[in-house]
Symmetry: C2
Subunit: 308 residues, 2 copies
């Protein structure tokens, strides 16, 4: 199968590598930091454990499909897509893409994992912008089967279609933004909920524990299978139209009340830190992260078993 280049081999880069390799792609990895490279295969092994929960994998074969390269040029020459996963600093991304543009053939898709930078900014300095996209994964990207593709107005339709196909083959479910917007879809939905969670907590309506419970023991169980529009369709006997007609007054009233901008002051963040550490010690965070990954993999398995 084809080659995928990975530029930046931290957790996101390693996740992409495992995701692509487990779907059969050959993956070429580069990172300028030798320490990152030193730990790379160990991280790959840990990530593969989670994937094994829902997908048969041969670890030896998987690792053999992931090659560490010594120069940025090596990951470029024969890759159909290069996934950049370096730090979220605009200047660094702009500069690394100048290199990637120089070393790669024009058919290679250039793709950034940025979670909020707009493609029109990331690729500002490049000559050929038609082959450039953002493809933002969801944490932890080795088990969450999602990628949001954000093209700029200069990205070609053919490139968008090809990118969709490449990510689909690697078992990601790709969505495509119709025009670019800060935060794309995922972080805008998440941000809207997070800002409201903070308003409810900071203004004294509920504890962080109770707000977390509302999500994980109620809303989140539904949202693991159904999006907001699908849920509205099942919420009234006549379907989505009936549902929005019944509830629009209430939903609009909420929108009118949910327009303050939380401060996120240092003092408030310290308070959050204090309350959170009472629930989970810093030393237990790593175990919790591992459990999170396992649970996500188990839900993914359940969804696959149920044809969802």
């Amino acid at each position: 199968m084809s080659n995928i280049g990975i530029c930046g081999a931290g957790l996101i880069g390693a996740s992409w590598a495992v995701g692509f390799a487990s779907a059969g792609y050959n993956v070429l990895v580069y990172d300028k930091n030798p320490n990152v490279i030193k730990n790379f295969y160990k991280v790959v092994e840990q990530l593969a454990d989670d994937i094994a929960i829902y997908k048969k994998i041969n670890l030896k074969k998987l690792k053999s499909q992931i090659m560490i390269c010594k120069s940025i040029e090596e990951i470029c020459t024969e890759s159909i897509l290069i996934q950049e996963s370096i730090l979220e600093i605009i200047e660094e991304k702009q500069n690394i893409f100048l290199e990637l543009e120089n070393y790669s053939p024009l058919e290679t898709i250039l793709s950034s994992s940025s979670s909020y930078l707009l493609p029109s900014k990331i690729y500002k300095k490049l000559r050929n912008k038609d082959r450039c996209i953002v493809a933002h994964p969801a944490l932890p990207p080795h088990v969450v089967p999602f990628v949001e593709i954000c093209p700029s107005s200069l990205t070609s339709k053919e490139v968008i279609e090809r990118a969709k196909e490449i990510y689909s083959k690697a078992d990601y479910v790709p969505i495509v933004l119709k025009k670019e917007i800060e935060g794309f879809v995922l972080n805008r939905l998440q941000g809207a909920l997070l800002n409201e969670a903070v308003r409810l907590h900071e203004e004294g309506y509920a504890s962080i524990d109770d707000i977390d419970i509302s999500l994980k023991h109620a809303l989140g169980i539904r949202w693991a299978f159904l999006g907001p529009f699908e849920i509205m369709d099942l919420n009234a006997p006549g379907g989505i139209g009936d549902s929005f007609t019944r509830y629009r007054k209430g939903i609009k009233r909420l929108a009118q009340q949910q327009n303050s901008v939380p401060e996120y002051s240092n003092q408030y963040i310290k308070k959050l830190e204090f309350e959170q550490r009472k629930r989970l010690s810093l030393s237990d965070r790593e175990d919790r992260t591992k459990k999170r990954n396992k649970l996500i993999a188990l839900v993914r398995k359940l969804k696959l078993d149920e044809g969802e």
Copy 2:
């Protein structure tokens, strides 16, 4: 075990009845509409099927614990809590609670399933407001293990504690609002996300399909186990404080952009209806609802198996 009174035997009332009875309570049910009563045990049987996915139940025994009563008085005399689940019309709720107050002993907790009406309004006409709460479940309430208790400023602390205990024994995870607010916690979080979903769709950034995918294949898989604060705690190496310090600038920028109030015009709702019906025909909605309930029960089982 003790008696629970259920006033209003539609889907919400039936769900409560099954929830309480499956935990061992004796349930006394009243509805003024004979047609609702006629179908009641059939609905109970359907709901019990879903519960059986994660909990052993004896259907015969369960049904024997649920008694249909012929008058509102009968559900009141010996119940420790009366759960009202009639239509969401303030005048009707106010009036039915006048009756429930008259027939029930002072120790009985009066509880409304309202999803958005404030307890201070629902119980305005009552003499003894210290025993009154809203206890709002999450759809579908026979499988979602959640209830949000909203007291008014006049509700006694002892009543809140007793209510928490009663719902906990029936396997609901109760949260308690510290002061009343429209939409409580659940619908405020849901509304914030829904309004942003509609903005993204109506302003042409993404399709309803792609927005639904962002939730069900990404955000929702995490949210089935972790609330917004728990997620932030795992999102940066130093924990929640580190996380909010890194991302607050971006989150605040989103809050500044997410303050418009969608119109929800008839024309827009018709457009939604049209797009949704292309994905799922009206005649397939019932099957999808059944599948939703099954999937939620399966996730609940998974969470119980994993100690979550």
